[in-house]
């Protein structure tokens, strides 16, 4: 098949990747997504489009969590009388890593 051409070391941007490679990469991506509660054999084989869609939602969710957690941390660090306990909590977390 001419699609095999993409596996050679063509440096031009016109080299296409094969469908198998796409499917392989997509399934690796799927493995990183939060898994559904009731995984079944049929559910596991989501379409590539669905995986891409879920990946985008997942990334947006994670970015929103970073935003929300940043706000929480900012509020906690605001309490001046809590500065020492904040420091202690930070050090404690670091030691537990």
């Amino acid at each position: 098949m001419s699609s095999r051409r993409s596996r050679s070391s063509e440096s031009s941007s016109s080299s296409r990747i094969t469908e198998e490679q796409v499917i392989d990469l997509i399934s690796k991506l799927q493995a990183l997504l939060p898994q559904p509660q009731t995984p079944s054999t049929t559910d596991r084989v989501s379409s590539a489009a669905k995986v891409l869609q879920e990946t985008c939602s997942y990334i947006r969710n994670l970015q929103n969590e970073v935003h929300d957690l940043s706000e929480k941390l900012a509020e906690f660090l605001a309490e001046t009388e809590e500065t020492n306990s904040a420091q202690a909590a930070l050090i404690r977390t670091l030691l537990l890593m």
């Binding site: 990747i17 991506l29 970015q63 941390l73 500065t83 904040a86 420091q87 930070l90 977390t93 890593m97």
Partner: protein, 144 residues
């Protein structure tokens, strides 16, 4: 700090000490400046520190982390390169079009080839979720 983790699970966190180190140092600095900054400023600094620590932990090995560090340092948007749209419709092509949204979400995503985009996304998700877990752990230990 935990030593080398023999767990081959890609979702384990061998990068976690690196992530924690940088982020917690940044939080310490921000904490010391707490009295002179507004909550909103602090929140912004903390969020920035979160992404910087992710990018530093990933280093220059990843296109997304390079793009992110560049973006943060320049405080400007990463340049967009012209899209690669063609008229032939195939399964691969359909997925590339659907990946446009992903390209916008991923730092440096606009310039990547489709296969790189998928690999970079996987890496980005791993670091992003590790960062979220780290921040949640810190919040839990503060409010606990």
């Amino acid at each position: 700090m935990k030593g080398g983790n023999p767990n081959p699970n890609p979702n384990s966190n061998p990068k976690k000490p690196l992530l924690a180190n940088h982020f917690i140092q940044a939080l310490t600095r921000i904490n010391l400046a707490a009295q002179t900054s507004s909550t909103r400023q602090r929140s912004h600094c903390i969020k920035r520190a979160a992404y910087v620590s992710m990018a530093c932990a990933a280093g220059s090995r990843r296109a997304w982390s390079r793009a992110m560090l560049q973006k943060i340092r320049l405080r400007s948007r990463v340049l967009r390169l012209p899209g690669d749209r063609r008229s032939i419709v195939s399964v691969v092509r359909r997925e590339e079009n659907r990946a446009d949204v992903l390209r916008k979400l991923l730092p440096g995503g606009q310039a990547m080839e489709f296969s790189s985009l998928l690999e970079e996304t996987a890496s980005y998700i791993q670091y992003l979720s590790a960062q979220v877990r780290l921040m949640q752990t810190i919040v839990d230990s503060m409010f606990g």
